[in-house]
Symmetry: C2
Subunit: 301 residues, 2 copies
Amino acid sequence: MSRIKKVAITGGTHGNELTGVHLLKHWREAPEEVSRTNFATELHLANPQANKANRRYIDQDLNRQFKIQDLNNPCLSGYEHSRAKVINTLLGPKENPRVDFIIDLHTTTANMGMTLIFNTDDPLVVGMAFYVQDKMPEATLFFDPVERLEDSFLTSTARFNGFLIEVGAVPQGLLRADVYQSTREATKHCLDYLELINQGESPVKPQVREGYRFIEKVKLPENEQGEITAMVHPNLQDQDYQPINPGDPLFMKLDGTTIPYQGKDKVYGAFINEAAYYDAHVGLSFMEKVEVSLKNDPAND
Amino acid sequence: MSRIKKVAITGGTHGNELTGVHLLKHWREAPEEVSRTNFATELHLANPQANKANRRYIDQDLNRQFKIQDLNNPCLSGYEHSRAKVINTLLGPKENPRVDFIIDLHTTTANMGMTLIFNTDDPLVVGMAFYVQDKMPEATLFFDPVERLEDSFLTSTARFNGFLIEVGAVPQGLLRADVYQSTREATKHCLDYLELINQGESPVKPQVREGYRFIEKVKLPENEQGEITAMVHPNLQDQDYQPINPGDPLFMKLDGTTIPYQGKDKVYGAFINEAAYYDAHVGLSFMEKVEVSLKNDPAND
């Protein structure tokens, strides 16, 4: 009997990330590409109004609205607050979800390549990350564990949680064919993996691999008026997942002078110069390198 | 006696092109960087509301509103229609401008590098393009002649017309340090050139150079519902100013198949995958290679 019965692929969770939006359009025309023998696949445009407006969101970031207490809070009434509740009704409810797994398609303006983001150490999910990485060795594992009910991501609505495919660099509001094709390929591998799991096969064995875990967001320097006074340093631009050592250039002020990293520990950058974080004046995320463990065979877990 | 008395540098004509906006902020703090001995330099944020909203425009593209008949048409009452009239009052009026020259700072999501856009064959302007190219040999000349009163660009408000510095690739809504610094450098050369001209020096000699002239905008394929069904082909992505020959891949459909260029003549691409043109479903511009002539010594013209 299949363990996974219903899989949802979501796109346009951020309305100006067009790759997922257009992959959904493609798969509606060619459903055989996302059909598998032992589960049903659904396609959902997550934030249609933001997509129509070609904006990340209308009122608030949809992909931060899925904590159980926020879903159950009737006072949160912005467009994305409401949209999260609708999606929770459609795919969840979070406490006892109808859908077993969600693959959510994202892009970034940062040079993060093929990044696989997952928030749980459940062997089913970690196994998927390892399986996709076996097929696409350029993929990076971005692991940030949160208890599912406390997880604010859309993917956490599903029974076994889910998986973000986050690809860059691509500007907001356009399609890059290379990004589109690699997102399409990674999604195929995710579905293949779930099909194998349902068949009781063991597509990946317990093992440990290298990944990156979020430490903190780093703000761009500001003046007293709250305006940014510096930008990501040219040496750091496009260097996602590369080490940042104490004293390395971090920002460049408007006059061209360098602000170095003043921390004591080596870190790694991610979401470096992500346009979506400019409204909050965030320049990048600091990450640490971690070991990601697949503790059990996901087929027998 | 100086021929050029007043120069305006404008930024944020498109509100989500942040390079010019932040260079203006820098130069307000460091005016000596744009001051020259024999003319006055003014700094103007062209579209503050669009910049605040982090959008290209509020109602319509500001950089298409400067034709004389549009400036004089009281029925055009959108935000940018109004803003163009205000700028015309501030820097013009177009028929007898107060300001002699405008340098307008732009960015593009296309991989166009340092592009110098000018709409007149006036030796003063062509000479500036050649001078900047002498200092920055990577710069490309983008020449699209229009009679000044019929020109829809902001730069055409000035007595001797002006010059767009257009740099990419950079996503909308963020700063890239390399783009910021090269825009800063090109602006410096423009100002140096005008200072030399005012001194009666001849910084460039009459000659002919290679440039590109706009032929037409090319739309992305659409279905009957008016949705795009293809994107820029991966072979064409980032290949601005490279030849496109009959039969070369032009677009990739959502299913991955190729649509070739079916014209008979070799063309060149520019603004390939410019996000700002997605609302009109424009994928790129076709350009032709042209000879750009500096007919007279600009210092003695």
